[in-house]
Point group: C2
Chain length 242, copies 2
């Protein structure tokens, strides 16, 4: 389980574009939150920050809780989940990372969450120590670093806020978030299955499924396939979102 297929391991030339997060992934939780998109194109910009690229199979483990955090990661293609499993087996998915998103940088030097590829994924990585020392020298890198972390803080707080809402509200928020982040005009193609959605929303797979059919029955959404969902009435979803 969680086989990691290491593929390429070539050096990338300009690690400059690394942290260059496309924009701090907007979370679709409350009304208007949209922080400065601020061209985040420098954090991995110093010349000596060379990167490595790896590919992972579906469900491949990128790192595990407790492992030493030697790298900072960025999704090139595919999708990633970070999560924690409680002693009784319940799993909470903390965040989904899509192409352009960075993850894996925490305060301590050990990962406190695990990360897996949701589907086959290509992940760029640079040494954590290199990032931290670069930020020590280069003020702009440091600013990027803070900005990225502050953005994730915002997302984490909004995720917590999600978890006190009703099932309908959570699912609506999830759909809006994904729609914004995947930006496929009218329909969303989800990279993750129902169990992942459930573990992200703090619901069971059955409740997620039932809520989706419920939303479909009210013509709010349409399930083109189980993974492809058309948002037919965004205003209803937004209203549900609070």
């Amino acid at each position: 389980m969680h086989t990691v297929t290491t593929a390429q391991e070539r050096r990338t030339v300009g690690a400059a574009a690394f942290l260059a997060a496309k924009a701090l992934a907007p979370v679709g939780v409350p009304s208007e939150r949209r922080v400065s998109p601020a061209a985040t194109h420098i954090l991995f910009g110093s010349p000596e920050l060379t990167g490595i690229t790896m590919t992972y199979d579906r469900n491949g483990e990128i790192y595990g809780e407790g492992e030493s955090a030697d790298y900072v990661y960025k999704v090139v293609s595919g999708a990633v989940r970070t999560y924690k499993v409680l002693n009784d087996g319940r799993r909470q998915i903390n965040a989904f990372y899509l192409p352009g998103d960075c993850f894996g940088l925490e305060l301590g030097d050990e990962h406190t969450w695990s990360a897996e590829a949701i589907v086959g994924a290509t992940i760029a990585m640079v040494k954590r120590s290199a990032v931290l020392s670069a930020s020590k020298r280069d003020g702009e890198v440091a600013r990027q670093l803070w900005s990225m972390t502050a953005g994730q803080l915002d997302e984490a707080r909004n995720h917590a806020l999600l978890l006190i809402k009703s099932a309908q509200e959570r699912v609506a928020a999830f759909l809006l978030e994904m729609s914004q982040r995947l930006a496929h005009s009218d329909s969303v193609e989800l990279p993750m299955g129902r169990q992942d959605i459930a573990d992200y929303l703090g619901l069971t797979i059955e409740t997620v499924s039932r809520t989706l059919t419920q939303l479909e029955n009210t013509r709010t959404i349409e399930l083109l396939t189980s993974r492809v969902i058309a948002l037919r009435n965004r205003s209803v979803l937004s209203r549900l979102n609070g």
Copy 2:
């Protein structure tokens, strides 16, 4: 409601000690998480970062959601809650801040959460712009800034993790967290009432109350007064904590 009593407004000499967070408040959520205490004594250390001190009454508003975020705050005495109210009136408390803790610094230049004093409180504040520009010049300030934000990210994620647990587990986690942060040997004197606890844990006041009596009946805790709780069996609480 939420009367703000501005008291002193004197300049502090060395704003150096400002961000000097006593340590990133450890959250008592999962087993062993205790990030580098790292002497955080520099962020507010640059000479031009002069501060203002204000006092607030119980329930006094420090800032509201949507207000422009001009300052960064630090609790000198008392306690603070940051929260958000959903359109239907449900409130979620995001975090409690105790003496030594900093709060109010977010990515955007508008507060996305509100802050109130839980009890009478003295709060030191410095201009956000000053902090940000100081961090631009001084790498160590920048590091402190990132470190503080990363610590709060960690806390926010653990708070989210809390919200998928059972009532007993949430209350146990809360008690352990507070006991660690207030460090009163065997008993904890809570600055906040039941409603605050409930809104922090995503439960109702009744459930919090019932859970506490339940823990008391099993001799796990003892309610000396409703605000002062003795932890009689920490290992049971830790086990509940997962």
